[in-house]
């Protein structure tokens, strides 16, 4: 059997809408098979995975906590990917945002007041943007492949954070645990509704960023520039858009948002720096960006879905004893199916059996023969 793609005359609006949903349905089916193979009743597992983690208000707050960094990072990445610039090192930019933002509460704990949080957030954005500027600089100056450099920097960032919290920034009263001091009260990102749950302002930042980037991409010249340079760099040059400037813009923007996500996570959900501060948000956000079809508003929805896969992973681990790596598997499958379903937007898919490849019409028969003559 062979798969043949037939180009549609124009992109299908129907499948453009449907493809994330088809992808999600396929993931559920594949997940059911996986759970069955693990010897678990799929229906039971799905209830624990997808329904129970969001059945109470405080759990929705947990969902928002997980979704906030995913959305913030993915919104920035969507601009990169639209411009055909491949920043896959958001995890490192997240970490550097967290480190820069933590300078104030760790090194100047006596500095208190309402200015602390804004300064920390600003520093976090600077840190993320700084770290993202490295691959951007290398790409524009030396045309070094940004995929590999941005990814390599993730490992470097993880090791650097590890050194900080075990070395110079370790809490002297922390009984030797590798962590910094607990942030003071004025360095903790406030919760939105302390009575209902833990969700903090990070989620608001995510929503604001999504709307702002959506406005930029759909209503402003900059967004047009991103799209033109992404789909045709040559046309972009004729229009006077500079590619190198775009590389910096995309990297700095996505780095700053990843950095903001990093400091929000540390200041809001964790409250101190630890050797590991992210369960792979920077990588999962890549999935969020694609599941959201690189559209900031779609990304909000996609971020919530992917946040649920994290919560579900924890839930099945405690309830069924399955490794919480199951979350990563779900996320990977979801991205696969999304990319596959996106093909439907531009192509019709025809399955061709080996025996049926012969064209029916006599007039058509001559043409393929010509093509096959070697």
């Amino acid at each position: 059997m062979r798969i043949e793609l037939v180009k549609r005359p124009q992109r299908s609006a129907l499948f453009s809408m449907l493809s994330p949903f088809i992808a999600f349905a396929l993931t559920i089916i594949a997940g059911a098979i996986m759970f069955a193979l693990l010897g678990v009743n799929p229906l039971n597992a799905f209830e624990i995975y997808f329904v129970e983690p969001i059945s109470q208000v405080w759990q929705l707050h947990e969902l928002a906590i997980k979704a906030a960094p995913l959305i913030l990072i993915a919104v920035g990445l969507s601009v990169c990917y639209k411009a055909n610039i491949w920043n896959i090192g958001a995890e490192g930019q997240f970490i550097f945002g967290a480190i820069f933002g933590s300078i104030i509460p760790v090194l100047f704990p006596q500095f208190e007041g309402p200015l602390v949080i804004p300064l920390m957030l600003l520093l976090g954005m600077v840190g993320g943007a700084f770290y993202a500027s490295i691959p951007a600089l290398l790409k524009t100056r030396f045309s070094t492949n940004e995929i590999l450099t941005s990814l390599m920097l993730v490992y470097v960032a993880q090791l650097f954070l590890d050194w900080l919290v075990r070395g110079p920034w370790r809490d002297p009263q922390g009984h030797g645990f590798p962590q910094t001091i607990q942030f003071g009260d004025s360095a903790v990102l406030p919760e939105l509704m302390p009575d209902a749950g833990r969700a903090n302002w990070g989620f608001v930042f995510a929503l604001v960023a999504a709307v702002a980037i959506w406005l930029m991409m759909s209503r402003m010249l900059k967004g047009f520039e991103v799209r033109v340079l992404g789909s045709s760099p040559r046309a972009g040059r004729f229009a006077g858009f500079g590619f190198n400037k775009m590389v910096f813009f995309a990297f700095l923007l996505s780095g700053a948002l990843a950095g903001l996500a990093g400091i929000s996570e540390v200041s809001g959900a964790i409250g101190q720096l630890q050797p590991v501060i992210s369960p792979g948000y920077g990588f999962t956000a890549i999935i969020v960006a694609f599941l959201g079809r690189l559209n900031p508003l779609g990304i909000v929805a996609a971020g919530l879905v992917l946040a649920l896969t994290y919560l579900g992973g924890e839930a099945v681990q405690s309830a069924l004893g399955i490794s919480d790596k199951v979350a990563r598997v779900f996320q990977g499958m979801l991205l696969f199916f999304v990319l596959g379903c996106d093909t439907l937007i531009h192509y019709r898919i025809r399955l061709i059996g080996m025996a049926l490849t012969k064209p029916k019409g006599a007039a058509l028969e001559a043409a393929p023969k010509l093509g096959e003559a070697r």
């Binding site: 492949n145 995929i147 590999l148 390599m152 490992y155 650097f160 490794s323 790596k325 991205l335 393929p368």
Partner: protein, 306 residues
């Protein structure tokens, strides 16, 4: 003298998985396909190899399983990018993410279990000759496979007609298609070869390098292999040289940590990654060299219109 020999041996052991994975990816990229899933295929090979070796007690079956698992996993990428014409960068990334997750899940029960190790070559009388004996006749079997594989790929790409065809597809799939070459079929085979190689490299990690299962044990080696291909400007013998340079960096930082050099171990551990960046910058500065050697249709999806 013994110390020098031992260091050279460990460098070879560290370089072998990089070499195998990079040689596989080189063939894939020569056919015009960019598979960023090397890390994922490698870790799947590692867990598959460990699992099969652990369950059967035979490291050889483990090695075979690693190759098969890597090849099967790459098939997923092939179907997506070649038959469904998806974005190769994104699909490769998702292969890596899926591989890291899946291997973690499969390997949960293997953590802390004793593994089996492939025995080193031991020819009575010859392997015990000082220096040469150990270096040339006393290494692990995968080392010899890696050298043979490099030579074979060199010969295949530049001395055979099929190799020429493969390279022509990588440079212009449209022209190749117009000549009646089955572009998609060639690319399928190339991607599967790359997957099998990455799987073998992973098998080396869990059956020779450290015969046990540790989550994320590939530790970015798949990405370094990808960088090696660029560094080598798509030439097999330069991949060989590059892999040994990186093997030396990897081992060098481990030795430096063991000797207690007054530099934080985290800085030493980040050396291989920093070295990758530096090397990539040095090589890509030379625009003529990279422009001339990069397969011209690398990373572009191809849909035959008929």
């Amino acid at each position: 003298m013994d110390i020098t020999v031992n260091i050279l041996l460990t460098i070879a052991t560290a370089a072998t998985p990089l070499l195998i994975a990079a040689i596989g990816e080189l063939v894939v990229e020569r056919s015009g396909v960019l598979n960023l899933g090397v890390e994922g295929m490698m870790i799947m090979g590692a867990v598959g190899g460990f699992g099969a070796g652990y369950l059967t007690g035979s490291p050889w079956i483990g090695l075979l399983a690693a190759i098969i698992v890597g090849a099967l996993f790459s098939l997923l990428f092939a179907v997506m990018t070649l038959s469904l014409a998806t974005n190769q960068v994104a699909t490769g990334l998702s292969l890596t993410l899926l591989g890291l997750g899946l291997s973690g899940m499969i390997g949960t029960s293997f953590v802390g279990q004793p593994g089996v190790r492939l025995p080193n070559l031991d020819i009575p009388g010859i392997s015990s000759i000082p220096i040469v004996g150990k270096l040339i006749f006393g290494q692990d079997p995968v080392f010899y496979i890696s050298i043979a594989l490099t030579a074979a790929v060199m010969w295949f790409l530049f001395r055979t007609r099929t190799g020429l065809t493969l390279r022509s597809i990588g440079d212009s799939h449209t022209s190749a298609h117009a000549l009646g070459i089955k572009v998609i079929r060639y690319r399928y085979l190339a991607v599967i070869f790359g997957g099998a190689s990455a799987g073998l490299a992973g098998g080396h990690l869990s059956l020779v390098y450290t015969p046990q299962w540790v989550e994320n044990m590939s530790a970015g080696r798949g990405w370094i292999a990808l960088a090696l291909v660029v560094f080598a400007s798509w030439r097999p013998w330069r991949v060989l040289a590059g892999a040994y340079i990186f093997g030396a960096v990897w081992i060098g930082q481990l030795h430096a940590q063991a000797f207690g050099i007054p530099v934080p171990s985290q800085f030493l551990s980040s050396l291989p990654y920093l070295a990758t960046i530096v090397v990539l910058v040095l090589i890509s500065r030379n625009k003529r060299l990279t422009m001339m050697n990069t397969p011209a249709s690398l990373g572009q999806p191809f849909v035959p219109d008929r």
